[in-house]
Structure formats: structure tokens, C-alpha cells
Symmetry: D2
Subunit: 340 residues, 4 copies
């Protein structure tokens, strides 16, 4: 059986997923697309020889679509489509963040809990990155002793012009909001967001850049995160975990080393599509495999993970707006559905 996937949202990330499903994923075909911009949906439908739907709702309801990927913008448009898919009893993949509203996330938790089965996977694709997985494995196996500290950077070369302070959190740091607690296996106690006085001249009105965030987990592990989204340099994602007997750190994917003009140099990625291509592919393949097996991978990111990241993001915003002090991260009780 081949899984017929429908994708809602044909923008930057959506088109990347369209290409992925059509050309790189095993066991699935691109069956339909939809976008609020009709002509965009039509363009991709034509290019990939699949159906286009006037609305996401129609795509979800179509008997020709087995499973749905929601890749719409702004992020708060995800949840209505996710809820609709749940209503139809269809598997749905939502890009991250699930929402920027914790209440909306909770609505999905409720709907899915009522169904009693995980139908939603959230796009925290870093969990599928070979580097993060090696780190997670080393932590889980205690290869270098227990983890004590994490140092992370999330650096982008540049941003779009309508990217503001909240985006530094819900669009960017959201990845670390998910990955940090996942790596160490402990929920957050407190987080903070600090805006240093020294700011890059390459930023714009409404965006403080760089920013420094911290995460403290309930078991006492401390992480710092540099968010610097106009670093005028590269997409430079770093994560070093300091353990009792050694450290383990991400490296960027490189294929060659060049020596020229008195320099030995390796490239650093420009963007996430390149940096995390392996992770994106593995993520979607894992989701497809899960849907085909009618049982999502228990370690895949859930609605609950979407909620946790959202609550942490809210606390970061609060800290940023309230003198940079550490803010508690308060979660409701975790339903049984989300206990592995």
C-alpha cells in the first residue's frame, strides 16, 4: 500500500516537504496540495501531477487523501487543520510550533486524548538529526557520565523583515525549547530570556538581536542558548553537552575541506533545509512508516511535546518582558496517552 499524502501550505517550508514527499520518501505519494493562494496550489499540483484543493478543509475531507501535513503560516493556523484531521480520524503532521497559544495546544491534547490514540506528529525534526541522536544516545547510555550543562547557539545568517522579538522565541528558540528537555529527559523548572545591551547593527526595528536564553530543568541541568538571527555569517547550530566525564557536541555536515589563500576551511550551512536535510527526510519517513503501520513511533514528537515547547516559549516571553528574571514553566498533568 502506498500512503496518499495531502499537504496544506505551499510556501517556503511547504514546498520543501512537497519535494520531499514526491521524490525522497519511500511508501508514499504526493496526492494533493492546498494553499490559501490558489495559484500556488495549482502550480505545485501541476508540477507534481497531483490534485489541488480549494481549501485545507476539502483536502482533509477528501477520500483520496490518507494523511495530512500542515505547513501553513502563520503558525496559529495549524491547530484548526489539526483538529479537523482528528475529527476525520486521519493522521496529521503539523510543522512546528504546533501553535503559539498554549490554549490551542491544549485543545489538540483534549481532542486526541478523547480519541485515545496518537494521530498527531509535531515537526520537531531535530530529534531525527544524526548529531542530536548521537548526543541523546550518549546521555541515555551514560557514556560520559550524567549531563550537567548545555551550551547552545541558534544562529541564522539573516531573517525576513517581518520577524520580531516573539519570533526569536516561537519561530527560532522553539527548537531548543523542544530539544533541550528531550535530550536530558527532564521537564523545565525555569527559563529566562535576556537582551544584552550590545546589539548587531544588522537587526531591524522590533527585533533585539542577539538574545541570550537559559533553561533549568527539574533535575538541575542548566542550559544557555544564544539566539542570533542576523549573524551575517551562517546558519550555525551548536549544542555542547557537558557531562561528568567529557563533552559531546554537534558538528555541521561537511563533505570537503579546502585549503586556499592561507586558510584551511570548511563550509557552514546557509539554512536549515541544507543543515537538517537528513533530519527532515528521516522525520517524514518515520511519520509515513508510522502511519502505514497505523502506529506512530512512540518516540516521535507528540501533541504534548508541542504543548511543552509552547509553555516554555510563553515563559521566555514573560521573562524577556519582566526584567529578564527566571520564570517558572508550569505544565498541566501529563495524560496517559503521552507517557511512553
Amino acid at each position: 500500500m502506498t500512503l496518499r499524502i495531502g499537504i496544506i501550505g505551499c510556501g517556503y517550508k511547504g514546498s520543501d516537504h512537497i519535494d520531499r514527499v514526491a521524490n525522497r520518501i519511500n511508501g508514499a505519494t504526493l496526492a494533493g496540495v492546498a494553499d490559501i493562494k490558489q495559484e500556488l496550489a495549482e502550480k505545485y499540483a501541476q508540477k507534481y501531477n497531483c490534485k489541488h484543493f480549494e481549501t485545507g478543509e476539502e483536502l482533509i475531507e477528501s477520500p483520496d487523501i490518507d494523511a495530512i501535513m500542515v505547513v501553513t503560516r502563520p503558525h496559529d493556523t495549524h491547530v484548526p487543520f489539526v483538529l479537523k484531521a482528528l475529527e476525520k480520524g486521519k493522521y496529521v503532521f503539523s510543522e512546528k510550533p504546533l501553535s503559539t497559544s498554549a490554549d490551542d495546544c491544549k485543545r489538540v491534547v483534549e481532542a486526541e486524548t478523547k480519541i485515545g490514540k496518537r494521530l498527531v506528529q509535531v515537526g520537531f525534526m531535530r530529534r531525527y538529526d544524526n548529531g542530536y541522536r548521537q548526543i541523546k544516545k550518549a546521555i541515555d547510555e551514560g557514556t560520559y557520565g550524567k549531563p550537567l550543562l548545555l551550551h547552545m547557539t541558534h544562529r541564522n545568517e539573516t531573517t525576513v523583515s517581518d520577524y520580531y522579538d516573539n519570533d526569536a522565541i516561537v519561530e527560532t528558540a522553539i527548537h531548543e525549547c523542544d530539544i533541550m528537555h528531550w535530550l536530558v529527559g527532564s521537564d523545565y523548572d525555569k527559563v529566562s530570556c535576556f537582551i544584552p545591551g550590545a546589539q548587531t547593527k544588522y537587526t531591524h526595528e522590533g527585533l533585539h538581536d542577539p538574545q541570550v536564553m537559559t533553561f533549568d530543568t527539574k533535575n538541575g541541568i542548566h542550559a544557555d542558548l544564544e539566539v542570533f538571527v542576523n549573524n551575517h555569517n551562517s546558519y550555525d547550530i551548536n549544542c555542547e553537552v557537558v557531562c561528568e566525564e567529557g563533552t559531546i557536541a554537534l558538528t555541521s555536515p561537511i563533505f570537503t575541506q579546502v585549503k586556499t589563500q592561507e586558510r584551511a576551511q570548511t563550509s557552514i550551512p546557509q539554512n536549515d533545509s541544507f543543515r537538517f536535510r537528513q533530519a527532515f527526510d528521516s522525520e517524514i519517513q518515520d511519520w509515513v512508516n508510522g502511519v502505514l503501520a497505523d502506529h506512530l513511533n512512540p518516540t516521535a514528537p507528540t501533541t504534548w511535546d508541542g504543548l511543552m515547547a509552547c509553555v516554555a516559549a510563553d515563559a521566555l516571553e514573560k521573562s524577556r518582558d519582566n526584567g529578564f528574571v527566571k520564570e517558572p514553566v508550569v505544565l498541566p498533568e501529563r495524560p496517559d496517552l503521552y507517557k511512553n
Copy 2:
């Protein structure tokens, strides 16, 4: 349309390709397997829910098989299956080397030339490796000026016990026999194979280890190659191209860096399945795409490439057996079919 692939040969490399076609390739399904060991074919047929055939010939002839992958051992068993596939007008992928006999390679050239269309792709998967491709691109674009010298190593941690001197060439150096001339875009003038006096204690009767080979192309580019297949260390593939204005060199895929016990360290692969996983996947995907389009990628390795590597390998053997002097590499005229 989904391509129905049949795989002949279910050994080490065959099973790797079985897993690949079944789980990682887009647009194809594993439709059948065959192996000289019936029970092996049955095992994989059962595991992957596909047909098994008593013989490779039956698999090739089956109307349920659209295209064939030949992954049999020893290498001289490839050509008969390839010729059979050509007879049936089916696309066929042959693992490298196409053959260890130049005459056998020529037979495939003849058969394919008669058909007048490329139906064969040979498994020189390094051409699909991101690293080699970056090097090729830099050479083609003259990024660092024209290439002058290449330094290559082909190191394996260990070998099977029935691996002998000829295997150092036809099984191992055969990759460099293909990749070196492909990178620089010039045929070989002469090659040599030298066996130094200092040999590792980890080798066995019938295998000199390490060996040093050289390649000189018709346009004067010189390459040296260390073949060291019991290096007791790692699968360490290196290729540095020295150009007029800089050098470019392969790096091994790594995902993390570890600091522990007073060392900063990164892993080196143990084997080719890991080191070249991206290359193997891209290779087979490219082949599948070509077959589906009824037009193999013109830059994919051809029967002619299989012959060229085989002729170079023969000259290496001759040099090794005749005092290590440089031996000419003599090719027949290249048929139009193999001119890009």
C-alpha cells in the same frame, strides 16, 4: 507508476540494497529476489513480502520484474546476468566491478551498443558522494585552478580471509580506478602498483598490505593511492586534489565531536555502508529515476566506465607482477553511445 525491482544476490551488499529499495527509495518497490542459495532468497522474500525466484534468469524474465539489480559474487558472475537483461530489453544495475575480465566487459559494450541505448548502470557509487561531487564541481568550475596532483588513500579496517592481491585491485582500488579519471576528466596514460618492503603483520598469506599505486592521465595529472586493507584502524577514504590555487579534500561524515580523556575526537567510519550510505542511496535513487523516465542519467556510470576501470585494473596487476614499472592503459575506441 512504481518501478518493480528484482535483486539477484542476497549477500552482504545485496541485502544492503534490498533494505534500501524496500525502505528508502522513492518510486520503486522490491518485487523479487534471487540467490544461488535458495534459502537466503526465501528468507528475504518472506521478510520483505516479495517474490523469490529459483534463478536469476527466471527473475530477469519475469513479467513482474521491471528492472534488475545484479549484486552477485564472485564479480565475474555479473556479466551473464547483465547480458540476459539486455536480451530482455530490461534496465539493469550491476554492482562494481562490472567484471574482472576486460573481454567480458567488451561483450556488454557490444550488446548495449547493438541495442543503441544505455540500459546498464554500473555501481561506482562514489560519483554520488556529496564530497566527491563537491570536488568534481570545484575542478569543473576551476574554483582553485586546474588540478595537478591527487593523493588518495583507501584504507579498510580488515578484510575477509579469502581476499588476495588481486582483490586489492579489482575489489578495492577499482573505486579509485573509476573516480580518479572521472574527477579530472581525462583517460589514463599509465598506472603502476608497488609493493613496499614494510608490510603489516595483520595481513595474511597471499595478500601484500599495504600497496602503493599511481595513475597518470593523458593530460599529465598524477595521482598516488595507498591501498591498506588491514589498517587495524578504520575505513578511511581520503582524496585530496592539489590544484593551482588551492587543494580540496574529502572529509568523513561525522555528526558529533567528543572531548574526553584529554582528547578531542571524531569518529571515522568502520565500513563503506556507513561511510557511503548517502552515496548508495543517491545512486540507486538516480538509477530508479532514470529507469522511470526511460532515460538513464547521462552522467551515471556506464558499461564503458566499467570497461575502463577493468582495463586500468589489468594494467595495475601487470605492473605489480613486472617490477612495479608504469604500465600503459590501452582502451579500444569509445563508441558514440558512451560519449556524453
Copy 3:
């Protein structure tokens, strides 16, 4: 003329300096040694064929000693010797920290200011390290734009057993207290010291390990510092400066790369004597050159630098003891003598 140096303190660091002056410094000789342990002074005097003095005071007063190095422990014993040397009008080098008491540092400021000439150099040898100097140069020249953030680690493999929380600051972080403001050319506004809940099992009673400190300068640059002195790994000193158009980071001195057992590895130093050998040598050579020229290098660390580090250290201690909040760093007015 050859400078006759007397060294007070023949312990771990003292003996290192004794060896340095006797064997690696140009233009100076080891003329005398003193230690509170007579037999230690005698031992070194015999080994290096120089005088030994019963007390540091006698060494300072001796007409056979031109200039003095104070390398005594505990650190609060430095200032009395430094003041004595000033009294005698002799140049004096004090190991870092000048003192752990800001008041004691101020006494030296007063004495030296009264003389009206810099006679004291403080042992912040990192300023002489090739790596830090390259970073400083890049910042000063704006090679990568203005500095925004610094990420630093100060990791030791292990500590002596009588090393406690205060030592994490006055013995260890004191280096960063000096180097951070020197690199960016701005005084401290506030600092903080945080003790995370997750602690290494390799620490001992009275020492929290690791600790995380922050520094904010008056011009808004933010730095974080991991102090981890029982990291069970290596002496791993890192400093990455994030600028507007790139980052520049220290590397450890390495001389070879090894590939073995599936790892590519480079060593990380075990201790500061090895890691900063070039810096220690350059530092003492610079001091000797300054003394011989009767004019200390204006960029060499001064009494004022000793005071600044001490005041920052006091604020770090206060933060650690008062809920980890940022504490202001308050300095008296800088006398003209210490303006470059």
C-alpha cells in the same frame, strides 16, 4: 647588562618560573630564591647555582637582586612582598591574583601612585597567549565587526583537595575576570555566579562544581563562563567572541593528529603549564625587557588590573551567596598612572 632576578615562592608555579628564568628567558639570570620552607629554597638554589635567602624580605633587600618575582601561596601573601619591593624601588612581578582583598590591592595602588611610576606587573599571562592576542587584535581592528557576546569555559581535569568555592573564583575565574574586560576594552557593569542543581560526583565537600558565571560590561557586552574544575577530562580553556560579522575562538595548541581505533583525535592539554607555556614565557620575557628598559610595557597587566579583577571576584562571590542575582562591580576612580 643581565637582569638578576630573585624569586620568592618555590612551589608548583614558583618552580615553573625558576626553570623559566634559568633556562628560557633572554637577558636575565636567576640570582636568588626564597621560600617559607627553607629546604625548598636551598634545593633550588643548589640546583640552579644561585643564592637562597632566609626570607622574602632579605631577598628583596639584597643588592644582588635587581628585580623580584612573587609566587607565594596563599595569594594574600603577595601584597606585603610587593609593597616591600616598592619601598626599595625595585621592579616586582606578582603572580595572579594580586590579592583576594580589594583593600590590599588598593594599598599597592596607593604606594605605586605615590612613586608615580609603574613598578608592578601582575601575572595575568593570558594576555600574552597567541590565541587571545589574535582575538584582541581582531576586536580592536573590527575585523568581524564589533563584539557582542563571549562564551567562555575554564575547565580543569581535577583540583587539589583544599580547593573550595572561593577558589573557583579567585584562583580560577580570576583569569576570565581579567581577560574578558581586556579583550573588549570596557569595564564591568555587573556580574553573576550561579550554581546549577546538577553537580559532578567528582567534586568534594565545600566545592560546587560546575558553576556558571556571567559578565556584563558597561558597553553592553555579555559573557558567560563555565567554571568546571573537576571535569575529569582535560584543561580545556575556550573563548569564543561573537561579533557582528563572524566569531573568533581560541584553539588549544596541538602538534599532531592521530587516527586510531576508528577515531581521529587531537590532544587537549592537561594543565596550564603546558597550555600556556608560550604565554608564560612571553609574559616573563616582556617583563624582563621592560625592567631592563626601565619602562614596563604599557600594555602589561598593572596593579590596577589586579584591583579590577579582585573587585569583580568580590561581586561574583556576593552573587553566589545572594541568590545568584547580578551584582554591580564598583571601582574607585582610575588614577592617571593607570591610563594608557
Copy 4:
């Protein structure tokens, strides 16, 4: 006692040694200089406040000079000064190569053998480089098993215009002629020099560039060497020793890593003065220590080493001029004086 050193030759390398002896060496002073260009000698004498001599002979004979460094050009001018120093019974350091004439080298062997004591040290400073020493140590201790192969490159950014094919050997490869046999502890059996057809456009009349040389030792170890002296890139010295259980390779000295413009980069040296500064300093310090002790370090490069490198260089030239075949390296019997 302070050693009074006289330096003959105030050119590029001579002035580097003048600076070294005057400012960085312990236990010695620069007492006199001489150069065939009087005004150059006068200039340095004035700058460093030492004597200047009209001729090298006068410098050697002067009672104010204890030991002599010969840094003259062309290289064939070394031996007469060395012989003169031996005549006066004074220690003498000769820059490499001792000579380009094996007969001249033998004359020094004879003179020194007659005296019966080593008074000559030859400037093969790489033996003092931390990297080469780590490699030598690993080989001697068998850390990675016995050595089997060496891969070396000797790359310069550019050359002076009167540098020709012979210089590629006697000026450049001479370093590897010395270091290769020293590392593995075995004399040469055969060497070869090959000029590939592909040549850089940055070379000039009379200089083939690049060239490829090989060295085979009597115990069967094989080395290849790329000599590329107009590589338009950097002074890039590499040496990888392939052993039975791992490889060990030189790295270039670096102090920082920079990330900018989508590249992570480290510098490669421009010239030998920077690359081997530590080695030059250690070399001269070791020589000074040896002279002061009236017993040169037994492991310091001797007249015999000068002869060996010269004989290997002659064989390389012969190979280059005679069809690139391997040429035997024939040494006279080693006098007892040069057995350690």
C-alpha cells in the same frame, strides 16, 4: 658564563637568527656579525650593539667570539667557514644544507673525525619541531605499531625568481631528505624524483612545479613527497606516518578558529619562520646549551646527517635527469664519531 656568538651571513635567515640570539635565547649574547655586504653587517652590529667583522674568517678568529653560526648564501659557502671554525677548535652551527656537494661534506667529516669530537651542528631544525618530535616518539615507542608508509608535502606559497629545479631538491626537499630517515631510523636504499606533465602556471623557466619524490629505506619503508613551491596558497608542510595500528600526522600551529562568511577557518602559515619558530628557537637553544656544556646534544643533527641528506639529494637529481627511475643512495661507512 654567557656564550658569545658570532653570526656570518645577515640575509633573510641570518637576520632571523640574529634576532633570535639577541632576544630569545638564554645563556648567549650576540657578540659579532659579518656579511659579504659590509653595510649589512654594520647595520645589524649597530642595531644590536655588537661588533662587526670585515670577513667571516676574522669573526671566526676573534677571541671575542666563542662560537659561530654560518648562515651564508649560496649554500656552498658554508663549508669553508665550517672548516675554518674547526681549525680554530670552535663550535660551529651551519645552516642547512651543509653543502650541495657530497665531497665538501666529506671534507668536514674528515676534519671533525680527526679532531675526534663533534663541533658541528647542522640546521635541520625540523627535528626540534614539537610535531615531528611527537611523531618520532610515537614511532620509537611503537605506539601505533611499526611505521609502514609516509605521505609528505612540502608546499610554499611562492619562490624567489632565481629558484630552479635543483633548488626544489637542495633547498626544499633537503628537509625531508633529513627528516624522513631520522623519523624511521633507517638509511635510504633508493629515491626517485618524478616530474608530472601537469604543471602550475605560476612557475617560471627552469623550475618544474610540482614534483613528486619517493624515498625507500633499507628496512622497506616507503615515503612519497609532493614538492610544490608555487602553490599560490600557503606554506603547507604535511607528514603523515602510516603505522600498523594507526596514523600520526603533523598539524600546523594555529591559535584561533574563525567562523565568517559561511566558513569555519583556520590559518595556514605563510612561511617557515612562522611555521617553525618554535623549532628554530629550540634548535638554537639546544646548540647553545650543548656548547656551554662543551658537549653537543648527541641527538642534534651532525656533519654526518649533512652528508646523508646531500647524498640523497644527489640521487634525487640523478633520478630526475634519468627517466625518473629509482636511484640507489650510496653512503661511505659511518665513522664511529657519528654513531650514537
